[in-house]
Symmetry: D3
Subunit: 293 residues, 6 copies
Amino acid sequence: MMELAIKKADVLIEALPYIQAFKGSIVLLKVGGSVMEVPENLENLLVDIAFMNAVGIKVVLVHGGGKAISRGMLNAGIESEFVNGLRVTCDKSIKVVESVIKDEVNANVVSILKKHKAMACSLHGDEIFVVEKKTDVHHESGRVLDWGYVGLPVNVLTEKVFKMIDAGIIPVVTPLGRCANGELYNINADTAAAALAKAMKVSKLVFVSDVPGLLMDVHDHETLLHSLRISSLQKLKESGVVGGGMLPKLDSCVEAIEAGVGKVHLVDGRMSHSLLLEIFTKQGVGTEIISDE
Amino acid sequence: MMELAIKKADVLIEALPYIQAFKGSIVLLKVGGSVMEVPENLENLLVDIAFMNAVGIKVVLVHGGGKAISRGMLNAGIESEFVNGLRVTCDKSIKVVESVIKDEVNANVVSILKKHKAMACSLHGDEIFVVEKKTDVHHESGRVLDWGYVGLPVNVLTEKVFKMIDAGIIPVVTPLGRCANGELYNINADTAAAALAKAMKVSKLVFVSDVPGLLMDVHDHETLLHSLRISSLQKLKESGVVGGGMLPKLDSCVEAIEAGVGKVHLVDGRMSHSLLLEIFTKQGVGTEIISDE
Amino acid sequence: MMELAIKKADVLIEALPYIQAFKGSIVLLKVGGSVMEVPENLENLLVDIAFMNAVGIKVVLVHGGGKAISRGMLNAGIESEFVNGLRVTCDKSIKVVESVIKDEVNANVVSILKKHKAMACSLHGDEIFVVEKKTDVHHESGRVLDWGYVGLPVNVLTEKVFKMIDAGIIPVVTPLGRCANGELYNINADTAAAALAKAMKVSKLVFVSDVPGLLMDVHDHETLLHSLRISSLQKLKESGVVGGGMLPKLDSCVEAIEAGVGKVHLVDGRMSHSLLLEIFTKQGVGTEIISDE
Amino acid sequence: MMELAIKKADVLIEALPYIQAFKGSIVLLKVGGSVMEVPENLENLLVDIAFMNAVGIKVVLVHGGGKAISRGMLNAGIESEFVNGLRVTCDKSIKVVESVIKDEVNANVVSILKKHKAMACSLHGDEIFVVEKKTDVHHESGRVLDWGYVGLPVNVLTEKVFKMIDAGIIPVVTPLGRCANGELYNINADTAAAALAKAMKVSKLVFVSDVPGLLMDVHDHETLLHSLRISSLQKLKESGVVGGGMLPKLDSCVEAIEAGVGKVHLVDGRMSHSLLLEIFTKQGVGTEIISDE
Amino acid sequence: MMELAIKKADVLIEALPYIQAFKGSIVLLKVGGSVMEVPENLENLLVDIAFMNAVGIKVVLVHGGGKAISRGMLNAGIESEFVNGLRVTCDKSIKVVESVIKDEVNANVVSILKKHKAMACSLHGDEIFVVEKKTDVHHESGRVLDWGYVGLPVNVLTEKVFKMIDAGIIPVVTPLGRCANGELYNINADTAAAALAKAMKVSKLVFVSDVPGLLMDVHDHETLLHSLRISSLQKLKESGVVGGGMLPKLDSCVEAIEAGVGKVHLVDGRMSHSLLLEIFTKQGVGTEIISDE
Amino acid sequence: MMELAIKKADVLIEALPYIQAFKGSIVLLKVGGSVMEVPENLENLLVDIAFMNAVGIKVVLVHGGGKAISRGMLNAGIESEFVNGLRVTCDKSIKVVESVIKDEVNANVVSILKKHKAMACSLHGDEIFVVEKKTDVHHESGRVLDWGYVGLPVNVLTEKVFKMIDAGIIPVVTPLGRCANGELYNINADTAAAALAKAMKVSKLVFVSDVPGLLMDVHDHETLLHSLRISSLQKLKESGVVGGGMLPKLDSCVEAIEAGVGKVHLVDGRMSHSLLLEIFTKQGVGTEIISDE
């Protein structure tokens, strides 16, 4: 028993320099929809966040809601349509999106955080994101795509977020926004997280998703890159090593760092307490991306 | 390795409710001279204190300096004299006491805390304790004992202590005081710690010494009392179970709790990281004494 | 149009001394379940609360959920049982109560406040109320009543509430609590509000319900008492003028004032913006109860 | 009566979004001498300011004193001399200016604000404005004009102003300044207001004077421009539509906005509570000038 | 010159322990009307106050206005009437009192403080003192005396005073008050100062008047008492040594100390910089009265 | 005696405008090793610093330790080696440097400040300076010089310094640093002071050394320059008037001012209380260097 006790103490002591380094700093976490599907993964992750909050890190959490929304659509008899991996959102869909992401997904996250004694408060994206309708030209066909009620953040009202984190509260943010005429829009959760991280110039932006980080070879976990500079990232992209579904996320990493965010982490939300281990122990378990300077 | 990582996470998560409960509260630690004699014990203890500081506990540290002072006396060619276990302090002795406890003992404690990245600052007792000369009548002979420059705190100037802990600094306090005419006095370190704890109405007062806590049978560690109320303590004393060298310390425990201190802990400084384990894990390793209400 | 403008200005100016008097003070509002049944009444009331928040009053809101819970019971196939007007709560019921009051009622209140740009955050009673099981002896039969999971607050953890109101956030509190062994209990919402008001020593405690205030003759609105001292209240009770369903509420008014709450108001939530008019205009529309001094 | 009550509530509710938007922001008001001549206008205006202060707007007030100074001159037997509409101030005049504007005009404003329970405090310009003597070359004659003790602000000591508004106090500022050698100078009140607004980077600068705002046709109130960008203002000037006495004021509007002031308003001080209506209702009654971005 | 420089340094160093001891503490100064009659004395005194403010003492100043008011009465053709040394104040008188004490005396004090770069702000007594009409029974005749508009403070609204001193501003307070019906009353300045000192529990209350302090023999300055406890004061009164005009002032000293004021000083305002010398040098020049404990 | 008292008052009053001007501003003092050799000079200087701290100036103290270190080297049997006036620091030397400068020199400074009731706390350079090894090319020989453990600050962690000065504590800083691999380095104390001054953008940087300031003719004290702009300094250098040992110090003056430091002062630490006189009296006794604007 004595031995066990000493091992426990060793773990706490190992965490000490990380706690000292990060307390008082702002960490923005984007939690992907897939992580939220497995209740145990989600709860483990939120306990990690409660821990970060308890040791004085100012955590902001932005979450998606992918599968829950698709289920909500199904229940409402609306067919889901995706272009370039992004949900096209008609006027019926946006009501389902709002209802599901606010009343189910967000409420659940807040409730689990409260269960673990963290002060958490839902802060819906439409309270802080001012958006414009997303209108892209399709690369191949050249026609203008109509994403419906999908918005791009053009302004972020950070005052409420700062008030909350300064009071020790974790704001749990939904990826919604409002455009000038007051209409509600859906925002891609990665985009919302990156926009908020940039507006707040946070110390760390962490994407928690269902990949282990950045792999040189996606089939071999041993090829995980633990740390790389954005210039190296650029080279990897050019050499074609990194690609596919990771590309948009990596682009927002680069964009965020260039806008003043300190570091970006990619963490695997399927692994138990990966966030805690990435932040508070020597064996970081994901990939960190840092500026060149 | 994965398994190890999960165990690490478990220890951090186990600490979470304790961190949540104690952050922002004031804990006053009295570290006895004997603990300070073994460098490894002292360093382990101070790392624990750095951890407490890092997670937002406001730590105040009062230390003694027994053996270092005796060595200093020897070097200065002064014979140490004790009455009822308390050092009689002549005018030559008090100079040695001041020099040893400030420049050696206190400086060493501050230096180790800084090494572990805690903001620590020496705060000498003569900056905060106003004392009167201790004058007791000897129980047997009836004569008034002359302890020389041994003082009893009659007033504690807590303003500087509060300023420091509010700025995140650990005040490292020497058990000295000054009487109205400006003369420097030695104070028994337990007495100094209890006086400061009472004046600040701290949440916890922890005595770290070279005993494992309160034992029903001093020869059997299995008889350690983990938690008891002051009324029970009274009964144990009356029944003669507790006695000897522990009596004065227990009296100051009772006095402190009656003056508004939340809890008193007795922790064994010889055991590695006992303080951390007592405060942040389920298996408390010492004795806690609480009020009857 | 000019005339209209001047009238508008007059109303704002009339509100000025009330804003000056109440800004910075804490007002605890208990909103009864019946008020929450009529969406328009509820929204009007919450807009009033957003106004109070905007002019610097620190509002805390405690709400009941009577009819919504009864509907939830019905849906779950549990029969509602009442003793002395208080819901008996079995182990199945408490799950329904928690789910309905948190996920429906509370979420709805928070959502409407946010719609009107007030920073609001749900704060569930089990985060702040420590309860003991309610066990009364029935007056007539002499047998001990078993209310099931109905608790009485024995301790209120006000720290989170103060943090929120100091950050400009309206805490929206559910009448739940947890006893020492961690079990969830239901609390009568009036009791919860009064306990919180006492623990926080608020300036005003306002009961918003479906009565116009205190009437000398319940059938004649012209007999509304605008202001009375608690000693007069005592006399009215003794003379039998006031009685019936109002008695328990009036008892908690008296108890709250005796515990240091400044004033208690009874306001009619069915009347449009009655709260705003009671607080910010000359024509108070409910009853205020004040101490004798 | 019920109907009246509801109308009152409607006015307060209409003001809600404006209060939410402006609380905590700094608004600098310049009140022209002509407005101050009519006691009723002045009192109405100051009540509006007390209202703004009460709902959490940080108001700074700079006032002129034109006619009162001219009367003071007359009493002192000094002839008033104006060049380009600006008072030439000899060494006798500056004494009269100081006495009248401090002891009469400023004292009166502070006194009325206090009467309406606003915390107000006189802050004389010579405490905050460092000036240089104004020396212009006359456009026609080419000779250097000697304005006497008329100064141009070259530095503004904003620390005291910020301390006051952060303590909830309205600083009431006289348009005076001191040059390096300690001599007192008169400053044009519009110039002083604009200089202070720029130095503090206030959210709004409001000129309250005896014109209804910016009119396309000065003889037709229906041609009032409610909102225009500074680029449009430039075009109006070039086209000759706007001109005459308004030009210098409009130039300081442009200059202020270019230096970081959020918005400039022109409000008619002769109209009862025009300020309140401009700030807190849908029907703004003056002209607002905003940046092009 | 070198020698002079060293002497200068010595004076500053002598002041050091006094500055260290008093910074952050609240000192309430009552300045009597007679001191204010001699411009040089008044200016010297106010420079001393500016110094106290500069080194971090929180100064509150209450002033009388005796002779200026009498002159004002004379100008207004009203005869001054005194009973027991207190001005009887009819309805015409109270208007003169208000005008003279606010617009002349108070404005002058604020203006001189500002000249010496202290942030000062007039705070009229009617903003903070709630009074009741003074009604005494005459000792000899037994009839109830009618003092007219002379009030006794029954409540003191200290919030504004604390806001000002916390912002580094010196509140300059006139001895006026308002009773429940809104009527303005005159208050004896000693009484007002003592009431405010008690309500704020200040560290020091200093009466600056035209006596050198407390003398054993009023004809011999060498008999000045530098320091005495309130019990000794009692004995002096009983023995008849102290008496006459000093009695009421000494009674308010005793009352203030018993209500929690730390110390009371009597300082001679006719002596140049006596206040500075009393507070910041070894040679105190007046009398200090302290509690018995 | 009366006359003496008045003179004392005059000195305090003379200091008033300087106290008003400097309170709240940050002053960084570099105290050279030679000044620290004469105990009386050091104590006088530290009393001056205690005074500055007491009147609200935020003092940061960086000290060297030249001669004490040389003595320490001698005792340890290590020969001191200097290149271009800078100590070459081998691996044995750096241990001696650390021990002497922390345990002797710094401890002594802190102890004297505490004796004079100033809150002071040692803050070792290795807690705040991140350094790189100094590697210069020798001007004449062209070879790369190896200074050993001599570092140049590349980053300064100012957070702890700001926390201390905001809590009223004087940080007493040793000129040490740590490079990325954790090794301890010595830093030239002038360089350390200038780097910290730049990182904190302090109002004043004061070099206290054993020269009277900047002299046109080093042999004639009458040629002391009291104030000069950095452009003039440049000209003096070019004309060869200023040169020799002063050059490196003057270069860091220029660099500091260009990086945003308000003013740099050169003060003679051998003259009693020169610092106090330079800061708080009309007769500044050293040289001040200011920017050209």
